[in-house]
């Protein structure tokens, strides 16, 4: 997370070699990416961009998804298979023959996601995936990301949506002015006032609630972030278990 222009996208572009570091190294699975081309890295790292219009160019969604697969060396049959699987997972199965340009913004965003997901990357980086998605799609997205994560995929997500992060991501890296200013558990990073201020984030709503409680009842921690934690604190105050 970080304010506008903090360097989040720039950092992510380093992961897949679109930008090469002037100093330091980017190591992917023990290999320095200096020795890999972007196309080689693309087999391991999938990047979903903020603007889906920057990558969609074919006349059907199916072609769009298989395009990336063929690029990184899958056979036609495999690509077809993987494409169908991904479309089902993203709720796009009825859209396979539609043109990406006839879809709404949110749907196009999902097509772009599908085209990257289909390659089954080991590392998945998403730039602002929640923009333009309704609550239901957001929930679907997070379920998908969690499933990928349990299967061993590293999920990196750039976002300004603080509640989305708090509920779903265990680790947060905060950036400001091109530097990483905090890196740790989401819980501790996002309740730190200095971090919130420098990243121009508003405090999580439940932390605000916890802080007001804290003013009156000092035994309630002012750094709670989750609903369950707050519930526990309130039950305790009321003399429950």
């Amino acid at each position: 997370m970080g304010s506008n222009g903090a360097g989040k996208t720039t950092l992510v572009k380093h992961i897949n070699g679109l930008i090469r570091p002037n100093n330091g190294r980017v190591i992917l699975d023990g290999t320095d990416t200096k020795y890999m081309s972007v196309a080689e890295i693309a087999r391991v790292v999938g990047l979903v961009w903020q603007n889906p219009d920057h990558q969609l160019f074919l006349d059907s969604i199916k072609k769009e998804v298989t395009f990336g697969l063929k690029n990184i060396g899958f056979s036609d049959a495999d690509a077809n298979d993987m494409c169908n699987r991904t479309l089902v997972r993203l709720g796009l199965e009825g859209f396979a023959e539609r043109s990406p340009f006839s879809l709404s913004g949110g749907e196009r965003k999902r097509v772009a996601l599908a085209s990257v997901l289909a390659t089954e990357p080991r590392v998945l980086a998403l730039d602002e995936p929640t923009i333009g998605q309704d609550a239901k799609q957001k929930k679907k997205l997070i379920e998908l990301l969690k499933e990928l994560n349990t299967r061993g995929c590293t999920v990196i997500c750039i976002t300004h949506d603080i509640e989305f992060v708090i509920e779903n991501f265990p680790r947060t890296i905060a950036m400001a002015d091109g530097k990483i200013i905090a890196d740790g558990s989401t819980h501790s990073v996002l309740t730190n006032d200095v971090v919130l201020e420098r990243c121009s984030l508003t405090e999580p709503e439940l932390t605000i609630a916890a802080r007001s409680l804290n003013k009156r009842f000092s035994q309630v921690s002012n750094r709670l972030t989750l609903l369950s934690e707050l519930e526990d604190a309130i039950t305790e105050l009321l003399g429950g278990i």
């Binding site: 572009k13 897949n16 679109l18 081309s37 972007v38 196309a39 693309a42 087999r43 999938g46 990047l47 961009w49 603007n51 219009d53 920057h54 990558q55 969609l56 160019f57 074919l58 395009f67 990336g68 690029n71 990184i72 340009f101 085209s115 990257v116």
Partner: protein, 267 residues
């Protein structure tokens, strides 16, 4: 072909020479109309010749003008970006041309391109897009056209940025832009061009909508806050330009040019 080169070398930097830069200079203060006359004159003279010496003279005359506009450095970097294209022009023309001394001819062509670019860069580097549209309006061009023109200029750098973003996006999907034979490279441009066109059309539509919602074209007769006025030095530039043009046309078509002007490499 030009586009192909830009995309392959990821080098659109030479177009920067057509982008306005804010400076305080004698050239910047001139009326855009007199600068337009100057640029067109120089361009016209350039097109009258196809020999190394006269083209080189014109080209060298541009340098003090660019220096006066305090834009020499910017111009130099842009010309460096153009060098690849120039080498390309020289090699291909030398190999394919049917004229008598192909190398000499191609070098002349390359210098001609440099001189042409420089002459127009003097105009575009020093004329603010607003000034340009105002100048057009005062030259009796309809407001809508003048506005469209300045909009187009305004969106050149945006388009370039967009092209870079699209190239990044496609490379991340495994499109290898700098590999393969010529045919494959040309085919690799499709994933760049199609999104670029679509994004541009989408943006054009949304700009049109936002302009209409802000009342574009609501009143028939527009008035303008700033009017351009011709001063003495503008008349001087205009006068010199016209004289130069007439003299060169006379020399070129109605006199016999001396040998040193027609000199060329014996290749």
């Amino acid at each position: 072909m030009l586009l192909l080169n830009c995309l392959e070398g990821y080098n659109i930097s030479f177009l920067e020479v057509f982008q306005y830069t804010r400076q305080e200079s004698v050239i910047h203060q001139l009326d855009p109309r007199s600068k337009l006359a100057l640029s067109i004159t120089v361009a016209a003279i350039t097109l009258l010749f196809l020999n190394i010496i006269p083209l080189l003279i014109i080209f060298l005359c541009m340098i003090p003008l660019l220096a006066a506009a305090k834009s020499l450095r910017r111009w130099a970097t842009s010309m460096k970006g153009l060098s690849f294209l120039l080498v390309f022009i020289v090699i291909f023309n030398t190999l394919l041309s049917t004229v008598e001394n192909p190398l000499s001819f191609s070098i002349a062509l390359a210098i001609r391109l440099l001189a042409l670019m420089s002459s127009f860069s003097i105009f575009f580097l020093t004329v603010h897009p607003d000034e340009l549209s105002q100048a057009l309006i005062q030259m009796k061009v309809k407001f809508e056209f003048a506005f469209a023109m300045s909009m187009a200029m305004r969106y050149v750098p945006t388009l370039a940025q967009e092209a870079y973003a699209i190239m990044d996006a496609q490379r991340a999907r495994g499109v290898e832009m700098d590999k393969g034979n010529l045919l494959k490279r040309i085919r690799n441009i499709v994933p760049i061009i199609v999104p670029l066109i679509i994004v541009s059309i989408r943006r054009a539509l949304s700009i049109a909508e936002s302009m209409e919602s802000r009342g574009f074209g609501a009143s028939e007769n527009r008035t303008y806050m700033e009017q351009l006025t011709f001063r003495k030095r503008d008349w001087a530039v205009l006068f010199v330009s016209v004289i130069l043009l007439i003299v060169t046309i006379y020399l070129r078509f109605f006199t016999i040019l001396p040998d040193w002007v027609l000199w060329g490499l014996p290749l």
